[in-house]
């Protein structure tokens, strides 16, 4: 099996590599020092197993696992952590294994064996069941086979168009796999639905403006006014939007 090691601490990465070298039956194809790096390495090298530390700077292991789960053929995720306070999060992420540090040879071997038995189909099934309890810090876009993370703070709105959702952010726009409904549920605190196919970041809204044809639209803080048609508020959502803008 091809293994990707993800840990921000060098001694921890070394230990995993030493142990895997001892087993002789697996191959470490890459090492990443943070979640971001892990995602691009996973996209580039398609590993079978990702050994994933949970507490890391930037995107932590749990969030990384959820982004990995959204891949076309998700790898098996085995968490490695010093302390089992994250067991529930790990379970929700549908991890294949959970190894406590200091890592025991037998435990790691067992976890890898277990991961080897899980088929791609099962992994995909598991990935589709995974739930992210806390709000993600990023959404994940796929640009020519590579994963790109877009910080949720930089998103001004999501537009659903038939099959895909487009995320408009400070660096442009990208297609993502999440459904508008799941985004609305996850980011309910910061985003408001303005019509059937659009979610707008509340703190990006500058004001509401009445068009010549009597329709009311959202004006964003950094508004090119080019997105005019997409940001017209439907009558059904108008009261709700007004309430949210008043700080409700």
């Amino acid at each position: 099996m091809k293994v990707l090691i993800v840990d921000d601490e060098k001694p921890a990465r070394d230990r995993l590599r030493q142990l895997i070298a001892d087993f002789g039956s697996h191959e470490v194809i890459a090492e990443a020092t943070n979640g971001q790096q892990a995602l691009s390495m996973a996209a580039a090298n398609s590993p079978d197993v990702v050994l994933l530390d949970i507490r890391m700077p930037g995107i932590d292991g749990i969030e990384t696992a959820h982004h990995l789960n959204s891949m076309e053929s998700p790898p098996a995720v085995v968490f490695t952590t010093a302390y089992d306070e994250y067991a529930i999060d790990a379970f929700e992420a549908r991890a294949i294994g959970y190894v406590l540090k200091p890592v025991r040879r037998e435990r790691l071997e067992k976890a890898l064996e277990h991961a080897a038995r899980v088929t791609g189909k099962m992994l995909k099934q598991l990935a589709s069941e995974s739930k992210f309890q806390s709000r993600r810090q990023h959404v994940c876009a796929r640009v020519q086979g590579e994963l790109r993370l877009i910080p949720i703070d930089s998103v001004s709105f999501f537009i659903a168009d038939q099959k895909y959702v487009t995320v408009h952010h400070s660096d442009g726009q990208d297609l993502i796999d999440d459904s508008l409904k799941s985004l609305e549920d996850e980011f309910a605190d910061d985003f408001v639905r303005i019509h059937r196919g659009a979610l707008v970041a509340v703190d990006q809204i500058d004001r509401l403006q009445k068009n010549d044809d009597g329709k009311i639209r959202v004006v964003l803080r950094q508004d090119s006014l080019a997105d005019g048609d997409e940001l017209i508020i439907s009558r059904r959502h108008l009261t709700d939007v007004r309430k949210r803008l008043k700080g409700g």
Binding site: E9, P11, D14, P57, G58, Y83, P102, D153
Partner: protein
């Protein structure tokens, strides 16, 4: 945002006893009765009149005790929030006023309804006598309550400090990560693994000997340096610590295990969550009669911080400072968007030889 905190008025630290409970009422009745007996015994009694005199005195003293308890029960919360000294002064004055008013009512009632002379004293004399006696009894009681509440408070504080020191000692994240590091080093760099085991042992020994005592700054800083060495193995170049401590008087005393847990906080909540790491700056200086130590670290901006863990270590240190220095020491926290700073200020003391 600068938050300066003193110890709160939690139930365990209340200084006025709770007069609203049945137990307290029984104690008040008992004390009142004892005072009544004392007063009656001390008075010149006509033989055979003892029980009658006792009944009269008891009636008055019991009224006083029970009404006093009611007053204290109703106003306790407000008095507690006024601060310790003020609370005792106000309670004393209020109870004295109550005494005088009751004495006046008692005098008037016996004059109107009493056929025989129940109070065989002039009006002014009676009031003054009541005032003097009650002053002494109330003052004694207050003093007793004050001392016992202080004693109770220090016991509770000490117990809490011990418990949180224990919890701080076994911060599992640190312990297991260090063990993992050592497991890794035993192969790649046995010599460093050896040193790490020695360092970890020294650190655990320092923790096990507890936080109940004071140590010199020199020793305290050594423990912190050992801790830093262990973390450095794990975090590598991501961690750097700058020690600006040349002006610190190394012989000054400090409650043990103060700096190391704060350094641990700075690393756990700050440096570890920054992809490129950062620098913890420990600054120490002497300010006249005080020693001031500041520990500053960068934090990942916009990241939800696990404030709870931080708070626990902070409260622990505040409690221990309060215990060791009363209110002559302060712990100040300055929390910016991308930085965190904690400033300790405590009296400069040396071990007497």
């Amino acid at each position: 945002m600068v938050a300066k905190s003193h110890s709160d008025n939690s139930e365990s630290q209340a200084y006025l006893p709770d007069f609203c409970t049945g137990g307290a009422v029984i104690v008040v009745v008992l004390v009142a009765e004892l005072v009544a007996i004392l007063l009656t015994l001390a008075a010149h009694n006509t033989p055979g009149m003892f029980m009658i005199e006792l009944a009269k005195t008891s009636l008055f003293v019991l009224w006083l005790g029970i009404l006093g308890s009611v007053v204290m029960c109703v106003f306790r919360d407000r008095l507690e929030s006024a601060g310790k000294t003020l609370a005792f002064v106000v309670s004393f004055v209020v109870l004295e006023i109550l005494c005088v008013v009751l004495a006046e009512i008692a005098y008037q009632v016996t004059r109107i309804f009493g056929e025989s002379v129940i109070i065989d004293d002039s009006h002014l004399n009676f009031i003054l006598r009541t005032f003097a006696i009650s002053s002494i009894v109330i003052a004694l009681t207050m003093r007793y309550l004050y001392v016992s509440s202080e004693w109770r408070r220090s016991v509770v504080l000490e117990a809490q400090a011990r418990i949180s020191a224990l919890q701080a000692l076994i911060r599992p994240h640190f312990l297991f990560n260090s063990m993992n590091t050592i497991a890794s080093l035993t192969r790649s760099d046995p010599r460093q693994a050896e040193e790490a085991v020695e360092d970890l042992s020294d650190l655990l020994r320092a923790n096990l000997s507890g936080s109940g005592h004071r140590t010199t700054l020199k020793e305290e800083l050594e423990v912190a340096a050992i801790y830093q060495r262990i973390e450095k193995l794990r975090l590598g170049d991501r961690l750097s610590v700058r020690w600006n401590i040349d002006d610190l008087p190394m012989r000054a005393l400090i409650p043990s295990l103060t700096i190391q847990p704060l350094l641990e906080n700075a690393i756990y909540h700050g440096i570890e969550l920054l992809p490129d790491g950062g620098e913890v700056v420990v600054t120490g200086e002497r300010d006249d009669e005080f020693v001031v130590i500041t520990i500053a670290n960068p934090v990942a901006a916009g990241k939800e911080r696990s404030i709870d863990g931080n708070k626990m270590a902070m409260e622990n240190i505040q409690q221990r400072f309060a215990l060791a220095y009363d209110n002559r020491a302060s712990v100040e926290v300055d929390e910016g968007n991308s930085s965190f700073e904690i400033k300790l200020r405590f009296p400069y003391e040396e071990r007497s030889t």
